[in-house]
């Protein structure tokens, strides 16, 4: 294994789904259900059985809209307010209307959701305004349950192939180029429709631990989705709205909000005082978190040591078993116990991820990108605060629409020269005997991301970042070396990480205002609704560099009253409450 082989195979399918994490499997299932004759291929860089953000399971649905607890209108309103109004509501509203049906389907797959004594879903309040969090007592079964469905529906699963470029022709999608991660052999897939569910750009910033793979996101999500969409000419929206999360320091896993919050845990400063009213992740909340860290009252902690023993045990049972089960090992190694001390938290490195934030490949309420026949869903598409249920639901929208689209078209012709050019790009690092290994290219890119792009954002720093990224790119293109197929995968990832870093800098420089709290805090500019109440759309310009334009926010489906607009800026606990 890992020896570099020379080979290229071409296959055809009706619908190619790239990424078998969360959105991808649901897209494949829905496409096949709608058109049982369709040949659906689900391709993943890892193994679909255990790939993506939910590889070990999930603690709960963070954004469920369940009749009796919340209405689609309330949810759409809350997400709009949490994103400073820059939201095309149609996609959020459609999600809010249809996600309950998806919950019922997941329930039918054998994934259980918490119910109260009356058999009703036991939904918890974590958000600033509404009630949307539904715990999953057997969240560790999600992947297995999904995989069973894939087998049953006879979806063709292709593991350990990494997609590297999309193919286009006749003004629409034509397929994708993929590379085997263990042999470096090529697979060219012609498809009438392509659905992307490649997850977040999780390896953009460098964790403070310095460990390249110690990220919040599953590090196999290294930004190819964004990079491939960019090179194919698709539009990407609001990339300056970074993902930054409040995490357990060093461990870099989620701290508390959605599990411990409803049970009485909260984020506190070093004095044990609560300083934010609401632990739901948003740019405004992250700004308060950052301010507390800077204020001299930091560091910031997860506080559970005031809770009763049975509550702490229950929190441990969830947090140490399901989503990130090594968390217990981490606390044992540090000698920290929720009962005795508060647990240090920190601000994560930056990334792109609409699952928790808002930016990504631009899509409409059918998960269509700006390229006909190309869809995106989940963390890499720009529907804000989408989380796991959003990935499933928009994956479903994509699968259903693609099943219709493929019926109307034949394979698009593409230019064979594109495949040759990609072969040359991919294999270049294997043609050198020595040079710079991918881990050094990656480390340097990500270290520069931290130095110059981590908010608060400063113009001169971001311009320096662009200069330094260009130097790294030159080194990468002229000198990167890969000695086996596994290293080649890392080399290709280093290239997508660098593409994402360039896009992050460029998008952040374009929007000359501050917005979304810490996510786009540009210290030289205040919020400017007059000029910047709009999306920004990034595409690949004629010169090969990012080009930008403004795109109007679609008229709202659900109105927001003037006095509700800034609700997410009222997070700070006032002094009298904090002292209690």
């Amino acid at each position: 294994m890992d020896e570099i082989l020379d080979g290229l195979t071409q296959i055809d399918c009706d619908i190619l789904v790239i990424g078998g994490g969360t959105a991808g499997p649901m897209a494949a299932l829905k496409a096949k259900k709608k058109n049982p004759q369709a040949n659906v291929v689900l391709l993943d860089k890892a193994n679909v059985k255990r790939s993506g953000a939910i590889s070990m399971g999930m603690d709960g649905l963070n954004n469920s809209v369940i009749p009796g607890y919340a209405t689609p209108e309330q949810y759409t309103k809350e997400i709009t307010i949490a994103n400073d109004g820059i939201v095309d509501q149609a996609a959020v509203y459609r999600y809010a209307q249809e996600c309950y049906g998806i919950i019922r389907e997941l329930d039918g797959f054998g994934i259980r959701f918490q119910k109260d004594q009356n058999g009703e879903y036991d939904v918890k309040k974590v958000h600033h305004i509404g009630t949307y969090v539904l715990p999953m007592p057997n969240g560790d079964t999600v992947k297995k349950a999904l995989y069973r469905q894939l087998r049953k529906s006879r979806i063709n699963v292709v593991n350990r192939y990494m997609a590297t470029r999309l193919l286009t022709g006749e003004g629409r999608i034509a397929g994708a180029i993929c590379v085997n991660t263990r042999t470096a052999e090529f697979l060219v897939i012609r498809a009438k429709a392509v659905i992307m569910g490649l997850g977040a750009a999780g390896r953009l910033g460098l964790p403070t631990s310095g460990y390249l793979f110690g990220t919040y996101e599953n590090p196999s999500n290294s930004g190819e989705g964004y990079s491939m969409a960019y090179h194919a000419g698709a539009g990407l929206a609001n990339l300056e709205c970074y993902q930054i999360n409040p995490l357990i320091k060093d461990y870099n896993g989620p701290a508390c909000a959605y599990v411990a919050g409803p049970m009485g845990g909260y984020t506190s400063n070093a004095q044990g005082e609560r300083f934010i009213e609401c632990d739901y992740w948003s740019g405004q909340m992250m700004q308060e978190f950052y301010d507390e860290l800077q204020s001299g009252k930091g560091p910031v902690f997860l506080k559970l040591n005031h809770l009763a023993e049975e509550t702490v045990s229950e929190i441990e049972r969830v947090l140490h078993i399901v989503e990130r089960p090594t968390r217990g090992h981490f606390h044992a190694g540090r000698g920290t116990d929720y009962r005795r001390q508060m647990i240090e938290m920190h601000i994560s490195e930056i990334g792109f991820c609409s699952g928790h934030s808002a930016s990504g490949v631009f899509v409409d309420d059918h998960a269509r990108t700006t390229i006909p026949g190309l869809y995106a869903a989940g963390d890499m598409a720009n529907v804000p605060h989408n989380y796991m249920l959003g990935a499933f639901t928009h994956g479903a929208f994509a699968g259903e629409d693609a099943a219709d689209f493929m019926g109307e078209v034949d394979f698009a012709e593409f230019d064979l020269a594109d495949v040759e050019a990609e072969r040359a790009r991919v294999l270049a690092p294997t043609k050198r005997d020595d040079g710079i290994p991918p881990n050094q290219i990656e480390y340097k890119t990500r270290r520069l991301v931290n130095d110059y792009l981590q908010p608060p954002k400063v113009t001169a720093k971001m311009e320096l970042a662009q200069k330094r990224f260009a130097e790294v790119r030159e080194d990468m293109e002229q000198g990167m070396v890969a000695r086996d197929a596994h290293e080649l995968m890392r080399a290709l990832e280093a290239a997508s990480i660098l593409d994402c870093a360039d896009m992050a800098a460029s998008a952040s420089l374009y929007r000359t205002e501050s917005r979304w709290g810490l996510y786009h805090n540009r210290v030289e500019y205040a919020r400017d609704d007059e000029n910047w109440f709009c999306h920004t759309l990034l595409t690949k310009g004629a010169d090969g560099l990012p080009a930008h334009e403004k795109r109007a926010v679609e008229p709202y489906v659900v109105d927001i009253a003037e006095d509700e607009k800034d609700a997410y800026y009222k997070q700070r606990v006032d002094a009298s409450v904090a002292a209690e």
Partner: protein, 80 residues
């Protein structure tokens, strides 16, 4: 720029005595999202799984899915 080998300790260990790679098992290698585990031959000719690349998300499918309980995941030293 010539390359050198820099040592690094890895977070995942496999108990050779429990590992049944010899019987054809490759479960941990198959499930790892980062694809960092491999099978090697030991001095006595038997086979075992091992961590080949220090690129781990300490996520645990390898340990959870191993049929014999041979895999132990710990926290990578840099963030421990």
């Amino acid at each position: 720029m010539p390359l050198v080998q820099t040592a690094t300790s890895v977070p995942v260990t496999i108990d050779d005595a429990k590992c049944i790679a010899d019987k054809g098992c490759t479960v941990c290698v198959d499930v790892c999202p980062l694809d960092v585990l491999r099978i090697k031959e030991l001095a006595d000719g038997t086979k075992t799984a091992y961590m080949k690349y220090d690129e781990c998300w300490y996520c645990m499918p390898c340990e959870a899915d191993c049929p014999t309980g041979a895999v132990t995941v710990t926290i990578p030293y840099l963030l421990k």
